[in-house]
């Protein structure tokens, strides 16, 4: 008993010592007290070297905290008790946060890099006139296939997923909106439809997809695809980029009939306090050089057209992540739906998951 106590006490002392030490080290790289910026971001969603660079250039210390879903972030900010200065919601969540008065409008006079962003990525329906948000990254929903099992270039349409030869071979990302959305698009409907008949038809069509579905999984899909567990998957372009960097047999396709176009955006939540730092950071991230560096690190598509021109040719011409204008024109952005419709989407999706 005595020895156990000694062991536990010494462990605690070592941990406390290490924590104190690392805290001291961090202090020396940043600055004390008020010169801070609290960034609430998705996990691994900014090039760490940019944070170091920003801290060196401006003297502001950046505290990064991470979340793993829009809803988790929303709940945390709405509940209060936090002091985040910037956060990165997706399109429909910007709209929801705006409706719930959780955002502070951008002061355009303090923004220097706003002209760097491309017209295709600004003034979207979720935030007309970009009153509250600056696009951070954008991407699409599409099909990933493994050319060891599926002929290169043979996949181009959503409806191909229903082909009988892919029995038990498709993995889907576990997201109600996206899976219902792909079914809606395959029937030529809008991903934002609120028409109950359309939604039910989309669900009936998904039920027919069920025999082909091997699994409905979340982040693990990257690992499974990289390991070749399944030849086909439906996932977001950013996740696809990560899989492809691990397995060169994987390819990403945005189906020609259209798909979802998503945006992650920098916004100022109501909890913000350090406004000078916020605008310094927004301007820093809008600089083409920095945005390009970030895009190269993360692998998602940048909405910063000046940064795009700085990217290596190989990335610029990659149709998987920077599709032709023709395809871009067919992409649809999610709108925030009413609570009732959100639940209808989710309930139908849950029923599909139970069937498969």
């Amino acid at each position: 008993m005595k020895r156990l106590l000694i062991a536990i006490t010494s462990l605690l002392i070592i941990c406390a010592g290490l924590a104190f030490g690392s805290n001291e080290l961090q202090k020396t790289t940043g600055d004390t007290g008020s010169k801070v910026l609290n960034l609430y971001n998705w996990g691994d969603y900014i090039d760490p070297s940019l944070i170091t660079k920003f801290q060196k250039e401006t003297g502001y210390h950046v505290n990064v905290e991470t979340f793993d879903s829009n809803e988790a972030m929303y709940t945390k900010i709405k509940q209060g008790g936090t002091n985040y200065d910037l956060t990165v919601p997706s399109d429909y969540m910007v709209q929801k946060m705006k409706q719930d008065k959780l955002l502070i409008p951008l002061d355009k006079s303090q923004l220097t890099g706003i002209s760097n962003y491309g017209q295709d990525y600004m003034n979207k329906t979720f935030d007309p006139g970009n009153k509250y948000s600056l696009p951070y990254f954008w991407g699409t929903l599409g099909i990933i296939y493994n050319d060891k099992y599926i002929k290169k270039g043979s996949i181009a349409h959503w409806n191909q997923l229903w082909d009988k030869k892919y029995k038990n071979r498709i993995m889907l990302i576990d997201s109600a909106r996206d899976i219902m959305g792909l079914s809606l698009i395959s029937m030529g409907k809008s991903v934002n439809t609120t028409n109950t008949a359309d939604l039910k038809a989309a669900k009936r069509k998904l039920d027919k997809l069920a025999p082909n579905v091997k699994a409905v999984v979340a982040d693990e899909i990257k690992m499974y695809m990289a390991e070749g567990e399944a030849p086909l998957a439906v996932d977001w372009s950013g996740e696809a980029a990560e899989m492809m960097s691990q397995n060169s047999h994987l390819h990403y396709v945005v189906p020609t009939e259209g798909s979802n176009m998503w945006f992650d955006n920098l916004v100022i939540p109501k909890t913000a306090k350090h406004f000078t730092a916020i605008y310094k950071f927004l301007n820093f991230m809008s600089e083409p050089e920095n945005a390009a560096k970030n895009a190269e690190y993360i692998g998602y598509s940048t909405p910063n057209t000046k940064a795009f021109k700085l990217l290596p040719k190989q990335i610029q011409t990659d149709k998987q992540f920077y599709p032709d204008q023709q395809v871009i024109d067919r992409l649809q952005v999610y709108k925030n739906l009413s609570q009732q419709k959100v639940e209808q989407y989710n309930d139908l999706y849950l029923e599909f998951k139970m069937k498969h």
């Binding site: 809803e71 693990e220 989710n346 998951k353 139970m354 498969h356």
Partner: protein, 273 residues
């Protein structure tokens, strides 16, 4: 001990129970009566019991929890029995407990490595000319992994009750002419029943809502109530409905507790006679 000191010793217990057991359960009950607009309503319960989806999900949860418990019990009882007979039984039981020191998620990922297409099991089966099998994302693999994770919790109480059996009972049984089989069914099994009961409780109750495993290993082919609770709290943000499902889970757990405990009381009365 006088009343004053008794009160002091009781305070932490009452605080703990009040803050971390009664208050959260109370909040779940409270939330389950509200809809998204924050109005008092019984609609959540009405929706739950009128929807085929939720009822099917409940049936699914109970069925799989039952199968997991059954398999865990079938493996655990003989294992506990033989370990209790071994010379260094403390060491062996330690080895059984060892996996519980490892995080659940890590164990799940380890199983992904074992069961995947290019995993160890498939490599072995190919080596012996048995071909490649799809093992991940099947109901069988889900039950197997869940049972594996629960087995230590089943073995421990059974083992403890086996160790507690007074050796003279067994010798007496043999002296009076009982066969080994009779000794087992008439003496050992009844005396270890409390161990089996608490093992079943400890395994069955968490198995009702294994949403992490059902996604990672089961590929969401098995949807249990846990999945629905997660969805309502994280995606649709309908906390009322999520709480309602939580209440249903709590009630089914209470039912399981009552069912297993009444038997125990009857046994106690029999023994007293």
């Amino acid at each position: 001990m006088n009343k004053g000191t008794k009160a002091i010793f009781m305070t932490p217990y009452i605080l703990w129970l009040g803050l971390f057991v009664i208050a959260p359960v109370g909040l779940i009950f409270y939330y389950s009566f509200f809809n998204v607009q924050g109005q008092f309503t019984l609609d959540n319960y009405r929706n739950f019991f009128a929807s085929g989806t939720y009822l099917a999900m409940t049936a699914n949860s109970v069925l799989y929890a039952f199968l997991i418990t059954l398999i865990a019990l079938l493996i655990s009882y003989p294992m506990a029995y033989y370990i209790s007979k071994l010379k260094h039984r403390d060491l062996w039981i330690l080895l059984v407990i060892l996996p519980t020191w490892i995080n659940l998620l890590l164990k799940a990922y380890a199983f992904i490595g074992l069961l995947s297409r290019d995993g160890l099991v498939n490599n072995l089966s190919q080596f012996f000319g048995l071909g490649v099998h799809h093992m991940l994302f099947t109901n069988a693999s889900f039950i197997l992994v869940a049972a594996y994770i629960q087995i230590p919790f089943m073995i421990l109480p059974i083992y403890n009750s086996l160790v507690d059996i007074n050796g003279s009972f067994i010798r007496a049984s043999h002296d009076l002419g009982a066969t080994t089989y009779q000794t087992f069914t008439k003496i050992i099994l009844p005396l270890t029943k409390p161990g089996i009961q608490s093992g079943v409780q400890i395994v069955f109750i968490p198995s009702l809502s294994l949403f992490m495993l059902s996604r990672l290993i089961g590929g969401n082919k098995i949807i249990t109530l846990g999945t629905a609770v997660e969805e309502h709290f994280l995606t649709t943000m309908n906390w009322g409905m999520g709480s309602t499902i939580g209440v249903v889970l709590i009630i089914s757990m209470v039912i399981v507790m009552l069912l297993t405990n009444t038997k125990k009381k009857k046994r106690g009365q029999l023994n007293a006679k």
